[in-house]
Point group: C2
């Protein structure tokens, strides 16, 4: 029986465990953590086979260690597990940023870093906790793996197989490509939404503004309701790529401002048309992809 050890048995880790169970892959899943509440809940919900708190015992014979915690907890966990890692144990994570985590793993794990496979399942995080976990969360969803030059091909293969058995589509790219892409399509939009709401909320007459905000505002700012701690950590972890994307965006916005200030009707319409076509094409592709599921 293959042994999987999971740090973080919430939506991400819990759904992985449930998916492995549903696919009858024969994995024995042990949840591990210092606070017992989530572990006991995950055990009661049948998400994990076992709850552990003793690191040395839990890591014995482990085939894969999955770290599915918030980004900021990954390095401390790597530090705690490093002394007990066996030669066969493969380590992976589910963090939203990759270059920083790969670098931390390199520093912390030393030689064992070749068996660390950075990963990022692209799955919604609107709900959290073990109760939100579902066996089909990864069905036809992208999971990005970012192996480096030093990554052991067998370790990469083990993590790839793990995710494939959940029904996910596994994609591989460099950590820096990953960080640039997600800075642009995820982290930057979060920053933009946070900034908009904070700017409005700081006004003395903020209520008057919020009172007339409607469905466009609601959808645009939904991500501004996300966890402040989580996004602080992601922003800091992906700071380099995020600052670059922010600069691209501010330049684009200044260009749009210029067109608007000049009252350039043709220029405005051209920009809005390009954006609207691109957005609607993307939505159609998304819809046809989810229809295929």
């Amino acid at each position: 029986m293959k042994k999987l050890l999971v740090f973080g048995v919430g939506l991400i880790g819990g759904s992985l465990a449930l998916a492995l169970k549903a696919a009858q892959t024969g994995w024995h899943v042990t949840g591990i953590g210092r606070t017992g509440d989530s572990l006991q809940e995950a055990l009661a919900l049948g998400i994990i086979d076992e709850a552990a708190s003793d690191l040395a015992a839990a890591l014995k014979d482990a085939d894969i260690v999955m770290i599915a915690t918030p980004v900021a907890q990954i390095a401390p966990i790597l530090q705690r597990i490093a002394p007990y890692l066996e030669d066969k144990t493969v380590i992976t994570d589910a963090g939203s940023t990759k270059a920083d985590i790969a670098e931390q793993a390199q520093n912390i794990l030393g030689k064992a870093a070749s068996r660390f496979v950075p990963g990022h399942p692209i799955a919604g995080a609107e709900k959290s906790g073990p109760a939100a976990a579902q066996a089909n969360l990864y069905q036809n969803r992208n999971v990005v793996l970012t192996p480096g030059e030093q990554t052991d091909p067998a370790a990469l293969n083990a993590v790839r197989e793990l995710w494939l058995s959940t029904g996910a589509i596994v994609r591989e790219m460099s950590a820096s490509s990953h960080d640039t892409i997600f800075a642009a399509v995820s982290h930057l939009p979060h920053l933009l939404a946070f900034a908009l709401v904070d700017e409005l909320a700081a006004r003395p007459d903020a209520n008057q503004f919020f009172e007339f905000a409607a469905s466009g505002f609601r959808d645009f700012t939904r991500i501004a309701g996300s966890s402040p701690e989580m996004w602080r950590d992601i922003s800091l972890a992906n700071r380099t790529a995020l600052l670059q994307e922010l600069d691209h965006y501010q330049a684009a916005l200044s260009g749009l401002r210029e067109i608007l200030e000049q009252g350039d009707s043709t220029g405005l319409q051209a920009l809005f048309e390009r954006a609207s076509h691109a957005r609607n094409d993307w939505a159609r592709q998304q819809a046809s992809a989810s229809w295929k599921n």
Copy 2:
């Protein structure tokens, strides 16, 4: 029988007509326009009582003229109806910007401008056309009226009563307050979303980015799929307020950039927390308001 003449029998004008019918207010509603397709559809759907194309005849004895067309068509329509307006006829509109329209009405209508009551029903515009019209669209929704000093109180009252009978909540404020508020909570978010999608779409490797965009991106950019012509016109019509809001936003974004560049963890978390509390408080208030419906 009171006579209402409606330019634009799509979602906004059509829903007004249906709401008046449902409330058994005794209004006789005539739709008017140059292209017959929408009028015939509105007539077939029972939205309007009559379809007209002869302006002079249609305006005879009209109590209220409602201009529920895109913003850019309002001034040309005012010009066309001006010669036929009777002393008793009240004119109103449903455009998303107000100061520019009030000024145009002043210039075009002259003395009759005292009977022009600028209005803006805050109702979703995701669907359009007569088929999208619904009798309950305005139920508990805000309708903003922006009378000026010169506005005839009787005219204001007539338009207020018209909207109240649809179940709407009628709010009054100055045209410039209106334009500032909607620049901030509606027009600016549209510009921000258009700019983000356009900037990404212009990249040579745009597909790689769009491919990994998920639900956060989907909601944030939904409004970037809106009508380019409509938003070109709104942006130009509300240019002054919109440029001001854009400047506030760019300053806020530069502040956030600074915090991020310095790796100021406390500052980032504080900003994200303020935004997330404000956004979630707003969503709770919205939910409790719609629960009361």
